[in-house]
């Protein structure tokens, strides 16, 4: 690749970064327009802002020589201008044309490196011209002037000068450097303690101590700043849902309105990247299984258009996402029947416990029951990905009134508060979010069933594994360990015997190199205060393991 090619590729990348959100905004607006017209309300206020956005996309596309996108944006602008003058054209047919054009624009901008699709653009422009000529027949006064209209500022555009764009990989590097700083700080504290123990009442040590305390505060602030930069608004994920939802609803013959709130709630990009898929899955399930057809809804005394609500709020270092529908709700009797058919032991009549059964793997394959029960397709997959992010998922339901999924997620995956434990001289980090309790293990409290450990914990018998066996350390099997930690996730619990609880630490998570294979019991690595590397236990997968150690 020549240097010019590289430079061009960079320009195209910049173009996509800038124009894709604009194109998406255009497409979303058209979806909203269609919905409002369908409901018989006015949508003129939407036209003004969308014209401005289209104008920018057109200008940027022209600058990059991307003729198809330029023409497409231009044609859409024309339709909007036409609609402003001729209310007669505000039909579902026009709306469908705009929605199709918006989607085509998003698609083309996203794949800008390919130069755009001339054929489909030409077809679309032809449809627009046909619409225009029909309009001019009915109203001979249609003004066809085109071209530059105004130079007003973009609605929602950032004031230039105060914003810089940075490659996210550089933020990863920044985080790595911060991590090294945190490690060196803990090393400094340890070294100070060693010195302080030996030298008695040396005056200068007080200064050193104060400096170390001050440095700790500075490091904390630095950490907060770096994490703040890595956070992006959740609207980057929510943004594409209105259009996707519209397509799903059309396919199912249902009418749905999506209300989104809290889009400005910020999450680490690494979390956001892994959140879109599970959320879309839940939305899809809500439309396909949860929401009734317009006829059924009318019969049930509900408005024919279903209401879906998606909201996000941040709350003490975590983000809570709620997705509610006003559909038929979960059929608990059927869930119970299915659980019994699957041979699952249901010990409680508690509705909450019964509902949580839908997250079990067995329910995902039970297509016919999930259709009837209203839910269940692949929910175990959703639950697994949410738990993999260190989050939780719960479901609330009222028969006939709808279902709400509640997701509770950590702000970031980059720095995880962990409990450091020691097993046979090896140290491991266990994310605090998965530690239910640490227990001093009295030898007589651990019993054996089928040569596997069990212990009574909070009134329940739980399986307690030996940490050495689980992690494959070189240990003597008879050795008595002094503690066990109870790890928990998604209602599953398991004890793990360890030798020592070293302490709590915010660890900077580093990935596993592919050379290390795909271990089931660890999810990553981190560097401890003394510079040693420790593995991070993968609590979710340890709890999922069928083979007990």
């Amino acid at each position: 690749m020549t240097q010019e090619d590289n430079a061009f590729k960079e320009l195209i990348d910049d173009y996509v970064v800038e124009c894709l959100p604009l194109a998406e905004r255009v497409a979303d607006t058209f979806v909203e327009l269609e919905r409002r017209w369908h409901a018989g309300s006015v949508a003129d206020d939407l036209l003004g802002s969308v014209k401005g956005t289209l104008h920018t996309v057109k200008g940027n596309s022209a600058m990059m020589g991307l003729a198809p996108m330029q023409e497409l944006a231009h044609a859409l602008e024309d339709v909007c201008a036409l609609l402003g003058r001729d209310a007669e054209l505000q039909t579902e047919q026009t709306a469908a044309l705009l929605v199709a054009g918006g989607s085509l624009l998003v698609e083309q901008v996203r794949a800008a490196a390919k130069g755009g699709d001339r054929r489909r653009t030409r077809e679309f422009v032809a449809q627009v011209r046909a619409l225009e000529s029909r309009a001019s027949e009915s109203a001979a006064t249609v003004d066809r002037r085109r071209g530059d209209r105004r130079g007003t500022a973009e609605p929602g555009a950032e004031p230039s000068g105060s914003v810089v764009r940075v490659d996210f990989r550089r933020l990863d590097t920044l985080l790595e450097v911060l991590g090294e700083g945190l490690i060196e700080h803990s090393a400094l504290v340890e070294a100070y303690r060693r010195v302080a123990r030996r030298s008695e009442a040396v005056e200068e040590l007080g200064d050193l101590d104060r400096t170390i305390v001050a440095l700790e505060k500075t490091m904390k602030r630095l950490e907060a700043v770096v994490m703040g930069i890595r956070l992006l608004p959740i609207s980057t994920v929510f943004g594409r849902f209105p259009r996707l939802l519209r397509d799903i609803a059309h396919g199912e013959g249902k009418r749905v309105r999506l209300a989104v709130s809290g889009g400005e709630t910020a999450l680490d990009k690494a979390v956001l990247d892994r959140l879109g898929e599970p959320l879309l899955h839940l939305l899809n399930n809500a439309v396909v299984h949860g929401i009734e057809t317009p006829e059924e809804r009318r019969a049930g005394g509900k408005p024919p258009e279903a209401a879906l609500e998606l909201s996000a709020v941040s709350h003490s270092g975590r983000v809570v996402i709620r997705l509610s529908d006003d559909g038929r709700g979960l059929d608990e009797a059927r869930i119970l029947a299915k659980a019994e058919a699957l041979g699952l032991e249901v010990r409680s009549a508690d509705p909450e416990q019964i509902r949580s059964l839908i997250f079990l793997p067995g329910f995902s394959t039970a297509a016919e029951v999930s259709q009837l029960a209203g839910r269940g397709v692949g929910l175990d997959v959703v639950a697994t990905s949410i738990r993999g992010l260190g989050g939780t998922i719960d479901v609330e339901s009222q028969p006939g009134r709808g279902v709400t999924f509640v997701l509770n997620l950590p702000l970031t995956l980059a720095i995880v508060r962990s409990l450091i434990v020691e097993v046979d001289q090896e140290r491991y980090a266990v994310p605090i979010s998965h530690v239910a309790e640490t227990v001093r293990a009295e030898p007589e409290a651990i019993h054996e069933i089928n040569r596997r450990g069990v212990a009574l914990w909070r009134g329940d018998l739980i399986h307690v594994s030996d940490g050495g066996a689980l992690l494959g350390t070189a240990s003597s099997p008879t050795k008595a360990r002094r503690f066990f930690i109870v790890i928990s996730s998604g209602g599953k619990r398991r004890g793990v015997m360890v030798d020592r609880l070293v302490g709590h630490q915010d660890v900077v998570v580093k990935g596993l190199d592919p050379t290390l294979g795909r271990p089931e019991v660890v999810s990553g690595t981190t560097i401890l205060g003394d510079g040693r590397v420790a593995c991070i236990l993968d609590a979710v997968r340890i709890l999922d393991q069928r083979i007990p150690a």
Partner: protein, 167 residues
């Protein structure tokens, strides 16, 4: 140069200070030679980033048998490969002479644990011969040849193959 001097020299070897050798009449190989048990092995200097002393190596549960663990390379997690198990030798015992050779192979940075780094040398190509067929097997395709040079035998390894990065 004394052995210690050599070790110190090897410790400072990296890409920047060891550029690819200028081609000489007949050609030569720019090698870093290391010891495993009684034998001497060589890999191309161009693939070596640096040589570091062995600090704590953390075992990673359920990792493949040829992985010794991971170590902290200035804040970066470096996987350390137990090359000896690939060559049919017993796992290494770390001594003060042990070193980790940090190599860059197919865009992956890995450490190779060796008993000692012996020398950085330019070996004339015409000293390299294939080993006798009788000692080879289909599994030993990672042996590129043997340099018979200044009274020593250096077994030349193809890193991509010995580190199982072919797939």
């Amino acid at each position: 140069m004394s052995r210690d001097g050599l070790l110190r020299f090897a410790d400072t070897v990296n890409r920047e200070t060891a550029p690819a050798p200028a081609p000489m009449p007949g050609g030569e190989l720019h090698l870093i030679a290391f010891g495993l048990d009684r034998e001497e092995y060589g890999i191309k200097v161009g693939q070596v980033r640096e040589v570091i002393r062995v600090t704590e190596i953390t075992r990673v549960p359920q990792s493949p048998p040829h992985v010794r663990g991971v170590t902290n390379l200035r804040g970066r997690i470096l996987p350390v490969v137990e090359i000896r198990s690939r060559l049919g030798l017993e796992p290494a015992v770390v001594t003060p002479r042990s070193r980790i050779i940090v190599v860059d192979v197919q865009d992956r940075v890995l450490g190779i644990l060796v008993d000692a780094v012996l020398q950085v040398a330019k070996v004339p190509l015409d000293t390299v011969t294939p080993p006798p067929d009788e000692v080879l097997s289909p599994q030993t395709d990672y042996i590129n040849g043997v340099a018979h040079w200044s009274g020593r035998l250096i077994i030349l390894l193809e890193l991509e193959k010995v580190l199982l990065l072919q797939a």
